[in-house]
């Protein structure tokens, strides 16, 4: 590399000039040139500053007006626009629904912003997370007068911090066509699934990443027990030997492994309403569901979902009104076809297609407090069995 300074040997005039400039700069007597430079930098700083202030301006503009009732919920929340509008016009209020990931993500969020919540209500806390949420005291208690419409057995929280709004069942679905083609008869118990016949034919979700996965694990815990001679871990270890497939979440299990959707596995842990949804969303292709529910003893876990008023809200009265609204027929009858769970209000009429979504005969459940106390341990033990760690 030729330094310009060496030019002095070939082009004396220019070389001397360069030497002069260089020495000027090095002796820090070049303050003038620095000043000149700062002026030219200011040309660049201007657009940068403008961008920054624009960003800050937008940040300032994001505050929500005070007449908005905000509800935070999980990704599976769906409801008809008209139902929400009805409440908005009746109470002269705006509703803003925010989705914040899956059930677990919503809870950890709520725990971290305790006392300064981003919403007034939390919709979608189920009995698997209820215990933790109650321990954290996230909610303000409210006993809605409409609770009388709810069956006693579904009242999950006697302290009324969380009001139940819907319930569903996590259970195993089977692919009718596959079973027909392979001349398989339905298993009669969970234990049958560990037989040679069902080797590699069940896909479940990972309880440490998925809500239905955790729920199914709880079902097996409630059925087999934790300290029995043949407990849930023995069952899972047998399932593992029988090549059970584990996926991270419902979408991957249902859409990439289930034989109905191009995969190779005829049994999948899903919901009791999935066969009905298959008919409803088939655009007329099916009149009978292509899948069925496997009503095995101890394999259908009752999942109750609730709503609660978050501590720190400034609109408690309005939030209470919304809870009342969710328990009434208008909202309740809209739940089945949107969220594919059952309305908790006994008077709410079910849509026609729910004749394919019969509630399982063999239901199991666990005390939310017990779940909250042991959830980590159970997931850990499950992982140890399945992952050999």
């Amino acid at each position: 590399m030729i330094d310009p300074v060496y030019l002095i040997w070939i082009m004396p005039a220019e070389g001397i000039m360069i030497k002069f400039i260089n020495s000027n700069i090095k002796n820090s007597s070049g303050r003038l040139s620095v000043l000149v430079d700062l002026c030219s930098i200011s040309q660049l700083i201007k657009p940068i500053c403008i961008t920054f202030f624009t960003i800050i301006f937008f940040i300032g503009c994001t505050n929500v007006s005070d007449s908005t009732l905000r509800i935070i919920t999980h990704d599976s929340f769906e409801i008809n626009q008209s139902v929400i509008q009805q409440f908005e016009t009746d109470n002269n209020v705006q509703i803003e629904i925010q989705k914040a990931g899956d059930a677990g993500e919503v809870i950890v969020r709520a725990i971290l912003e305790k006392g300064n919540p981003s919403a007034d209500l939390l919709y979608g806390i189920d009995n698997t997370f209820l215990g933790r949420a109650l321990d954290e005291q996230l909610f303000i208690a409210y006993k809605s007068p409409f609770l009388s419409l709810v069956p006693k057995s579904l009242l999950i929280d006697s302290s009324h911090h969380v009001t139940p709004v819907s319930y569903g069942f996590v259970m195993i679905n089977y692919d009718k066509e596959y079973l027909n083609n392979h001349q398989l008869t339905l298993p009669l118990s969970l234990e049958d699934l560990t037989n040679e016949e069902w080797k590699g034919k069940l896909v479940v979700e990972n309880p440490s990443t998925s809500s239905p996965g955790l729920t199914f694990l709880l079902a097996t815990i409630s059925y087999f027990g934790v300290d029995d001679e043949y407990d849930y871990l023995d069952f899972w270890s047998d399932l593992k030997d029988n090549e059970v497939v584990v996926k991270d979440g419902w979408t991957a299990a249902y859409y990439t492994e289930f034989s109905k959707n191009g995969g190779s596995i005829p049994l999948v842990v899903s919901y009791s309403t999935s066969p009905a949804a298959e008919v409803y969303y088939s655009e007329g292709k099916y009149t009978e569901p292509p899948t069925g529910n496997l009503d095995l003893p101890g394999a259908s876990f009752l999942q109750i979902e609730g709503i609660g008023i978050l501590k720190g809200t400034t609109k408690e009265k309005l939030a209470q009104k919304f809870i009342d609204y969710t328990l009434q027929e208008r909202f309740q009858e809209d739940i089945p076809l949107n969220m594919w769970v059952y309305p908790i209000n006994m008077k709410a009429a079910l849509p026609d297609v729910f004749k394919y979504a019969n509630q399982p005969k063999h239901q199991v459940s666990l005390d939310p407090k017990l779940i909250s106390k042991n959830r980590e341990k159970w997931i850990d033990n499950w992982s140890k069995v399945i992952l050999n760690r």
Partner: protein, 556 residues
Amino acid sequence: MIRRDIARFFIFTPVIIFIGAFIIYPVLMLFFRSFSGEFSTSNNVIDLLRNNNYIWSVVWFTLWQAFLSTILTLIIGIPGAYLFAKYNFWGKSLFRSLVSLPFVMPTVVIAIGFISLFSTNGLVDRVFSMIGLDGFQVNGVNGLVFILLAHIMFNYSIVIRIVSVVWENIDERLLEVASILGANWMDIFSRIILPILYPAILSAAILVFMFSFTSFGVVLMLGGYEYSTLEVLIYQLTTKMFRLETAAIIAIVQILIIYIFLYINSVLQQKFIRDNGLSYRRIVKKEKLVNSKSLIVLFSIVILVFVMLLPLVALVDRIIFISGNYLESFINLFKFREHSYFFISPWLAIFNSLKFALISSFISVLIGGIASYYLSSKKKQNRINLIDAFLMLPLGIPAVVLGLGFLLAYSYYPIDLRGSWVVIVLAHSIIGYPFVIRSILPMINNIPSNLYNSANVLGGSTIYIFRTITIPLIWRGVLVGTIFAFAVSIGEFGSSLILYRKDLVTIPVAIYRYLGQPGDANLSAGLAMSLILVSVVLISFILIEKIRFRGVGSFY
């Protein structure tokens, strides 16, 4: 010289503010909260790290799969970069965009693509039986193979774009001089081309490494339950077990490991900086693909793109397979579940995606560009290396940590960002700007310094020199950076725990919403939306490549 250093420092301040406010502050907030005792578990930190073999086995797996993925991607990517750098062929920029597609696709869609290809009654199976062979299906493939394949697929375009852009700017005269002096092609490659390419290769390698290291969706979805990276472990601990303290410790372990690698990379990169090699006058003398040798090259490109694209083809096939009518499923999108509160028209989803992608790639380029300009200083190498490694860190911070950190940091009046689109844009630009740095730095470092010296002597001001020398020479690098920042944003990479309001729904969010419920109509809606994503991305990539800067034309 002094003038340029002062300029550098002043221009660097916005970067410091950005990093401090949107990365360091939120992450520290979360760590402090996690260690506040509220989430403490019975065992203390040292016990946890000493006694828990599982954590170390995850660390080990994360490391070696990232290494393997990086090396495999480089082996496959560098010849590809050569093809794209040295040959002109029809549809080149389309091909280049096609190869980048897997980068923006939601993992679950890629997985559905794989299934549609290889399962019973899948595309390959049907094609095989059509031509009279026995069916073909892939079953029981080890999850690790899927992880590595997916990492290669996702990251392939990083290597191609970053390396080829430097390769095509290598001063041809150097090569000519060498061959006149009697060097054979091996010598030319190993002693001229490779040394000039080293910074670019290292840049691409570190990006691939970090992507594979922090791999989340791929490992969860394609790898199966046996495999877990630190990122997955942190996610599980945080959102399913609420063990934030343990999660924070593991996050710190991850960040430390990543930082060490970033620092080594930065040091290596500095070592290979050449003061020459990049031509400021690109001599357009690219080989045309006409002779037989080139036909082979063309053939391999087609094969390559075809393999990358097969899963996408399978998606189209799948839609036809389910709904019978391809067009219908697109029309359906406009009225599917239209009574729902969360119904939005696909147009709005496209608009939102493009809006967020454009704004966040603008911020990324601004921050990344300024940072690269600062990092290109040839003084105080050691400090520059430390800063360089630090600036790259956002790619190594677990997405959950950033997401929850933001939640804690910006939830109080007057800056309550929760539920605002600003968070989405910021989250995307935080992941986007490291790409810009890595695309620009190999170019800006290779600019011959005698160009600057002459310009200085001739009286050019810093701004003038910047505008007429630096920008034109790095312009293609800037475009590559923009494309990646854009891709990161439109693919919603690594942005978890962000609140979504109805009016902020983007294309990927819409896809996940459809695929969250059972039924053929949902599946075909999800896949149709994925194809919309594909087309939007393709068109955007091709348009971005066409952006020209005033004055660039005089160089090329």
